[in-house]
Amino acid sequence: MIASRFWIGLLGLLLSAAAAVAYLAVSMHDRLGVRLAAEGLSADSRVVSWYLKNSAREAAAQLIRFAGNDNVARSLSNANRADHAAEIDAGTRRQLKATLSKIAQELPKDEAFDAVFAVSQSGEVVASIGFDQASDPEFELGGYPVVADALHGYVRDDTLVLDRVYRVVARPVEFELGQLPAGAIVGARAVDDRFASELSERTGAAVAFYAGGRRVALGAPSTFDRSGLDQIVTDLPSLEKDNDYRDKGRTDVHPFPDGLAVVYARLPGEAWRLGAGYAVARQAPRVLGIGGVLKQADAKDKEAVSRLLLLGVALCSIGIGMGLIFIEYTRPLSAFKRQVKALSSGSLSQLTVDRMRGPFRQLALDLNLALDRVPRSSAGEDGAVAVGFDQVFGDAAPVSSPPMAAFGVPGSLPPGSFAGVAPASMEVAASRYGQVAAAVGGGYDFASQAADRAGATAAARGAIPPRRTRSDQGEAFPMAAGSAAVAMPPALPDPELQPAAQSALSPALHAGAGEPAHAGANGNGDLEPEWMQVYHDFVRLKQDCGEAVEGFTFERFTQTLRKNRDTLMREHGVQRVHFSAYVKQGRAALKAKPVRD
């Protein structure tokens, strides 16, 4: 038994340990995921920065198409002759715009500008395409450093926050070498979802641009949950308090509760001072608990699992468990069953304890002891069957043991208990004659119920008054006085009887005097002559053993003997049963022996 229990305990511990390892693995995985996401985010942010710079350089290179065009340079030179923007010739403006449009159409689509401006030396926009919202003829761009730099011979980029966020590049337009540039050409790309998607497609990063405290563009791989990037607006107000963001233009990783990690970076140019920037995000891989492991595992993960090993472990565990159960439970139980079957069939008189194991050994010992105490059928040399009725009479039951007290001997129980219970107990005992449970089992409640039945039976007969309960303890059993129908032998009890016993017996004896010997209480009128002697022997032995005999009447005694005699005669097919009193384990007991004539 202990091995199987140990195995079950071991399996429990192993299961607990496996769960702990799984939880640790999940936690480690999630933590590692966050770390990897953080490292990846830093790289993503720099990649985006490089992309923005590189794309600006490429855009600046595309501007050469405009700046190197003669028509553009000539038109700007002409525009410079006007003192005011309003004085610029409309034909010059139209021609310049047409030239810009033509050049723009020649650009590759992925490098095209959303807007192109041709700016005079004084900063006025002479012509533009893609920016029709500027309807004022005096609309200019000359104040922006990026345009000013271009007008002074530099090519550079900037990020302007106008009606939208624009990535801007500008370069000078030279009309005469060695002179001040005739103007500048400015190309702008709106930072919108298209721009962000293109950036995301080329860098693989999930990126969101923000300005003015709100998200203005978003681009993310298809596998990325784009709605997560909406959360960045909650972080934007606090970014200015971030020292790294304020000084270096880039934050550390900002984790969000759902595993989203974000790095914020400022956009170069005027947008830097306006708080515009971009956020690069990554979703840290999380398995969301042990259940998530199974949920998120793909076919490749499942292929990595050694099914053979798992099957082997499972089968091995099951085999060990089943083997232990077989060894410790099934096999002993089978042996026990075989012996019980043999016992029931009569081929065995006792269980063979040596063949028992574990709890069955103890069970067999107990059963043997019970059988020994209730020798239901022990064959003597002469073929007679001896039947012990000490349990039926309950002589060996200590007072403190309710089950035994239910069948207790008169001396250990109140008189009423014996008188009221004994007949019912006999019925029960008779009905369960061959069952071990009847010999050793039975509870006080059962006895009470039996006593009820007995009392009811007696009352129905009108010969026995209603039974007395245990509350009658200490009183004389009234049945003795009321059992006038019971024929009692004239002999007096043993003179050694205690006065109490004498007084208890006397009424019964006197009440029965003069009645026919065979006019028994059960109406059978079959009292055996020897029973009086048995009664005297039994009472004497009880006194010898120090047991109380108050209320132990001959009438009840004979009732019990009669029932047992009838039962034994019926079972064993005998004509006679011999009862004898004896001492067993220090208590008076009765033994019935079927006599085969």
Binding site: S49, L52, K53, A56, R57, A60, N80, D83, Q121, S122, G123, E124, V125, Q133, A134, S135, D136, E138, F139, E140, L141, G142, G143, Y144, P145, V146, V147, A148, D149, H152, G153, Y154, V155, R156, D157, D158, V161, L162, D163, R171, P172, E174, L177, G178, Q179, L180, P181, G249, R266, P268, G269, E270, W272, R273, L274
Partner: protein
Amino acid sequence: MNRRRKDAVRPGRGSAAWLGVLAGLAWVLSGHPAAATNIRGRLVGFEHLRNPIWIAAKDPDHHGYSFREPVTTVPAGMRKLFPAVSKEICIVALGTGTVGAAKPMSVRVSGGRTTPVTLVVAPGTELRFKNSDPFDHRLYGVGFTTLAPSTMTKGATRRWTALEAGRYEIRDELAPSLSMWVVAEPTVAASGFPSSDGRFTLNVDDPGQYTLQAYFAGEAVGKPLSVVVERRDVDVSGRPLVLATKAPVEDNNP
């Protein structure tokens, strides 16, 4: 800046005198200004000035760009961030006495700056800012509260008056490159802006002695030039206003 002339009318004798009086009265009542006297001049050395906003923007520490490279076909001498003189330099003729508020002046807000960038006016002169950009601006005063940040939508106009003498800097919350300086000068008699080649013309109403002074980025630059104005136009182009004689130190870092 033009100023009205308030000439007194002297009564005469006879019909001729009455005609003269009536004619003079009609001329005065018609609001026709007095014959202004022009002061023509020239600025030199402005190529040595540097726009402070642009200079700051080219500082890499300001993160104004991801790349900035010179175009080598443009002569190095041209690759200097000198100002657009027609917008950024204000020439004033300072009189000997204080003057009252002039007519309201318009200031155009567009292209990352105001036009003009530097303006010298008499205290009490109203400035009317007009947003010529197709997007918002939020002008505010730096260091003074009379021009609090307020959004100007496309085409909107905002008014502000410098009530006291002094130097006022105005910026835009939505356009960091925008900086404007207003100098409230009680003795300013006329103001104007040069052309791109540095030539300028100032109109003064009254003869007298004036001091020509150039202002750039809210500060007086160059040596002032005294001019005596009589009934005729005065041309002081031969004595140009020298704004600067050498390049600033910033040029060491292009």
